[in-house]
Subunit: 318 residues, 6 copies
């Protein structure tokens, strides 16, 4: 069963995401608590899908988010520009000079190894993104005049604050009203909801959001070790299950962001071919690739993803 | 004119500082806004003096501060342990999982080069240190039963919040009452005072603090370029000026923290020889060394500092 | 005397450049011939101006160039995306698998130190850019329908091959006819012209090009050492000289690309304020900044450039 | 069945190879298309065997090849010197300053991880090596007066151009006539032959070469993943098969160059003991070691290879 | 059966170790013999247990050792300070300027990969530690007045020289007499005993030592590959065997120091709960963690170790 | 006045040096005592001249030295091979497994910055080189049958031990008898002579050596700062002074080894042109270059040195 997706020629954007983009600080093969050197990446569950759609699959994507106008904010912007995701809808907030009232989100994340799992230390309180609120974006301009084929957001952004929860509801409703496909990644994390109403509030918000959602994404990790994983995906759509190609004992370099790359590939499958089986296969293959490189996002190409979907192996290309 | 300093044998600590310790993220020779890799250091104006006194001059020092109990907090602790400063008085706060209510302070700082000045992006809002308040430390135990020869704090910590201002007053008062020498580095930064009362409040707090201070430190930068500097220091003490050896056209690798290393050397001069002229000379030489290495703190040895004070040159040692 | 520049609202692009973009491989503080590790950057004399206008000054810019469709081509594209320069006009050429018939340009460049000068080893034969020819770009679409306020190209691109010389003539002519301001950086390099007609051909091509040029740029290095330089610039415009602020004994980290950043700032001065004195001041200040960071392009911000123009010093910003 | 190999004391060289040596640029654990830093190595299928014979097995080896006389050429020479392979027969070509008419070969190669295969981007068009031609080397001096026990070349070099094909024929013929053992690695790569005659030409050249070849090498990859591999080798010699020790599920760090290290070990087996079973075992063990370190060539020692051949395990040596 | 361990409140130190601490130079994923860059760590079999007890388990520990008073000695001290192990009992020896009469121990160690085993090149002759002798430490002060709950040393230190063998006997005897629990890691290494009496002397020394030992530790490696290992441990205590949780096919990043981290966890089990089954489980889990990070010592936390003991998996923590 | 140098065609070696080669561990811009990462280089006063003559000036050189046959010894060999200096005369000593009886020399050296001087920590006690003794080399074979034009050694090697002093005398005598030019770099270092007889012994040895020396080299540092230096050289030869071109305020990256590169250039001047004025100019220019790159040895080319001698500036070469 296919989705009713607007034609590309009527829309300025193939996909738009709403979420926070953080600076990831990655200690490589060592651990955060003893590191003397960090690699930097950008990442954010909702944004990662836009980046994958643009950098791997070549679609036109943008992100709705907010940063403080300082060096760190512009570093994340520098990564987003590298990722090719349009920066038109970024809200820049004035710096208070010390990060007291408004900040940019940071994420110290180590990738784990073997039986030592990945560890993330999000430092995202009072961020510019968490202070976004209804009315900050002109949805009629975005979904209406400019046009967007697919809108993606998720439960991490919705849980940042009471205002982001309200903004998320506002956004999915607006997207839905303008005929834009809406996908939502549940990504339930207790630590985020804790101080803003807990599970009860999460259910209430998600129930409201669900009314406007076309594709609901949820995933359950079952990690063998941080270095090896049985990987596959299932899609429930139009009343039946679609199962992806299986990747048993997938070797993993950095599993953070694998789920987001799944969501990204899934959206591409629908946007390009509007076929649920292809969608789940694109998702699983793209997610698998993302686990073979450092950072939250994939470095794969569309050709590689499609070769893998068809059962390709790891021979040297030359 | 000398100070009335308690004898070492009556005190467990030669020096104690009160202040925030942040994780410094340093892009090396490139800039924060395009960096892909950061070196990590620890730093904090008040703490830097304790570290210099311990690591360069071999005294027994400790720091009163607070961290969130997560990987980043323990990374900074790991640096403090490396610096040899006692961690006995660190307050560990429970992690909320996302840095919404309480955080560890961060500082993205680039060192500058030539006419491009150093740039710092402190991200220190809502930190555990800024939430310290009167009553958090048992000053009678610390200054009384354990004993401290010298107590140092400054205007950066006092400006973090209304509660740190109050705590600073409480601390200098307690130190003074127990006969501990008190030094205070004014370090006035408008961005810090802005939201908690501005210049007026700063003056009010500093005036109150000044009543208990034995050595008041202030410095005025006069930077030629980020790579070259005329360096010297002046001390007003006991009614007259003491001027340090002059270091004209000092070549600078990373000037951040030079003032703190001055304060550190100054304290050593008093603590070891109780001589204002030696104090200002130790301060200037230690500060000069700190500018020749990366990071906020010096990597010099006491022998090197003393050789420099006496006019030593840069011949190869072997 | 000001230029007759099209209003921004009538044009999709503030500036467009035509030239080759190479992958720069930089051994840092060591030398190419013994390096075991290289930093990567992108660079190209003409393109560097578009990047500066976009990343430092926030204008909308694009580059006309060509790459082979392989991993290296996409790495340079990745840098261009990071630089924010639009990739719409990049021509992608099919890879022959070994770089026999068409290649991407490479540039092994070491920055020099003190009396050891910078050394560049361009490896740019048979590149996709050098095979560009008249007819490859639809100038009527670009300069006409889309609209461009400023077009920049130069003598390096014109010298790549007989076809790029012809394309350069075609482009400046078209730009001129559509009322776009044309600037041209002479950048005469004998090694490039040698096999395609030498000085005589260069003069012939440049004379033809000059007929359509509004702003002709040439500069003459006078390097004290690779680490220190007297820096300033002169503009001949509307029958008189404009002299920039002088930067005596400027400390230099990496001087490669300083001239291009001058040209970039110059264009911004005209585009934003249409004032020759401001133009030469923007140029000199932007070029000075570019020399304080690694890579071909500047990492400065507009605010920093303007502060420097007004005589700002290198004090720590915090 | 043993080979008729000249005694070592009659020859200046134990082994000589003819082939191209390229600069390999390796992005480590990330991918070429997003890399910001590259490790450098040297590599070339034919040369790699000489390097292994010298650095691992201590024989006297040299390489016949050509470079442009610029910094990159001398960087590759620097690597060859590090490898201990004699540089006496390197032809140095004058630099044209831009790599238009003659170049040094480059190879951007990423190692792959798990199901993401290794990717190579050879940039070897118009290289000095590809312009080598009959008459460039004085074979009578080399094989006659100086003396060579074993000569190795292969199908990659033969496919670089019509002149290298002809030179290869000239060389194997000369070697054969002087009683030097000749080995040839087929290494058929369609992309190389494509523009110089395709499969038909390849077969014609190889048929001519085969007349002078004593040991013909070919291998077929069967890669499980880029990180794990079943490894073993088979030799057809003197009318029967010799099978090496098997290495099931060999863990792989960088598989590029494994086949060349096999050829290298094989030659050592013949040169040192003239025994086909030992030869295939040396080859397989040496190739296995090469896969556990980065770069094209092995970093193993003869002692380690021999211990592995005899079934040694990976216990800590101390 | 539990041990008779002194209560914590009667002792200044939970644990004290006697041994050498070396500077480990680690080439990362490449090999020592071709490295151009080394990571530095500290390590020493006996000391590693103190570090684990302090950094992972939070106990108060110190090390008895000696260094030359030069930059390298202070670098190792810098690591020990980072590890939180008290430096009170370090003996500083005067530098002779060239390392002729007394030195600091060094250890070039590569971690191995797959079937290529780890390789260690200890350079520890004539070290300050090896010149330690009976009488150097005031055991009555240490074990008597200050108080120590657990003393650990081992067969590596005992084998450094005739004087360290004698010192070891002196130390375990003194510890035993003061009621301190004594553990001893046999760690028999022929190369160490060779020039000071061989196996015969080793047995004689160990027999004498054994008289005062409460917990004797020995382990036998059975390495599948350098990258994968079946890991578990057995404790013989009070007349019966205690077997740890098993870790089949444990993925290994750097196995050096795994045995020491086992000994460290084992001691914690006894010190904290005085239970042999828990002790062997703490030991095995702590040793397993140490194999997932670079360097000789673990970077695990107590919480992680305990989660692993109870069967925890490698899910992302966030 | 020229020297009587044997013609090149009668000699296998242009130059031969006798000395120790150490592994240099270099913390880059930070200091040894807090480093977490080291770059590796090879270096040794006598050897550095052979390396410069080979790598910069293209002569055939070799070194007489000794190493322990372990991974570190082979790492230094790997560097010597990279330097192109023949390894034929290296004596390999059996490893004792722990560095107790025989070792490879190490040198932790930081380069200094500004007024912070360079610091070297040689760790060269009991090295294989220091155990070399008369009779170890067959001088008749080397100076007689093979032939050497120039022999260089110096006071560092002579001071390593009583046996190296004796070997040095033996060597210079033999060289002199075979008509080989002998140069000797006094390089007096008190720390080396201290335990083997002090100044008195040094004078005695040097007096004996001087009888066979043709060119005696000595230099006196006069360092302004570690980053800037007035550089020039004077040669006393044939009864008069020859003064080099002066390099005032030379900018310095790493001054270690500058004197050796002077000696190297000086030898080249004599060997190639037999002219004392040219010799001192080659020496000064080569030494100046060595100070602009990291490591003990120069990375300059002959062309660059000669351009500098003639007054060349630091313009970009392209």
């Amino acid at each position: 069963m296919s989705l009713k997706i607007k034609p590309a020629k009527e829309c300025r954007w193939d996909q738009l995401s709403l979420g926070e983009v953080m600076l990831r600080l990655d200690p490589g093969e060592t651990r955060v608590r003893v590191a003397r050197e960090f690699k930097a990446w950008e990442g954010g569950g909702e944004y990662n899908t836009s980046r994958g759609l643009r950098k791997c699959f070549g679609l036109k994507t943008a992100v709705c988010t907010a940063f403080v106008d300082n060096e760190v904010g512009h570093l994340v912007e520098d990564f987003i520009m590298q990722g090719g995701v349009a920066t038109d809808f970024i809200k820049w907030r004035e710096d208070d000079g010390i990060g007291r009232t408004v900040r940019n989100g940071l994420n110290f994340t180590e990738r784990g190894f073997g039986m030592r799992g990945a560890v993330g230390v999000p430092d995202r309180g009072n961020t510019a993104a968490s202070q976004l609120k209804p009315g900050d974006f002109d949805w009629d301009e975005i979904f209406g005049r400019q046009g967007v084929r697919w809108f993606h957001t998720g439960g991490i952004f919705a849980a940042l604050s009471a205002t982001t929860a309200a903004l998320t509801v506002e956004a999915v409703k607006a997207a839905n009203q303008h005929g834009t496909i809406v996908s939502y990644d549940l990504n339930y994390r207790p630590s985020l909801w804790k101080t803003i109403g807990g599970l009860k509030k999460a259910q209430e918000v998600n129930r409201e959001i669900a009314r406007y959602v076309d594709v609901m994404i949820g995933n359950e990790e079952d990690v063998i070790t941080a270095t090896k994983n049985d990987w596959s995906a299932i899609l429930w759509h139009g009343g039946r299950f679609y199962e992806s190609r299986k990747y048993p004992e997938l070797e993993i370099l950095d599993r953070v962001g694998g789920g987001d790359s799944f969501a990204s590939g899934l959206q591409f499958g629908f946007l390009s071919q509007n076929d649920p089986q292809l969608a789940v296969d694109y998702g699983a293959a793209h997610g698998a690739f993302a686990s073979t490189t450092p950072g939250d996002t994939s470095m794969a190409t569309q050709k590689e993803v499609e070769k893998l979907m068809k059962g390709g192996s790891a021979r040297v290309v030359r």
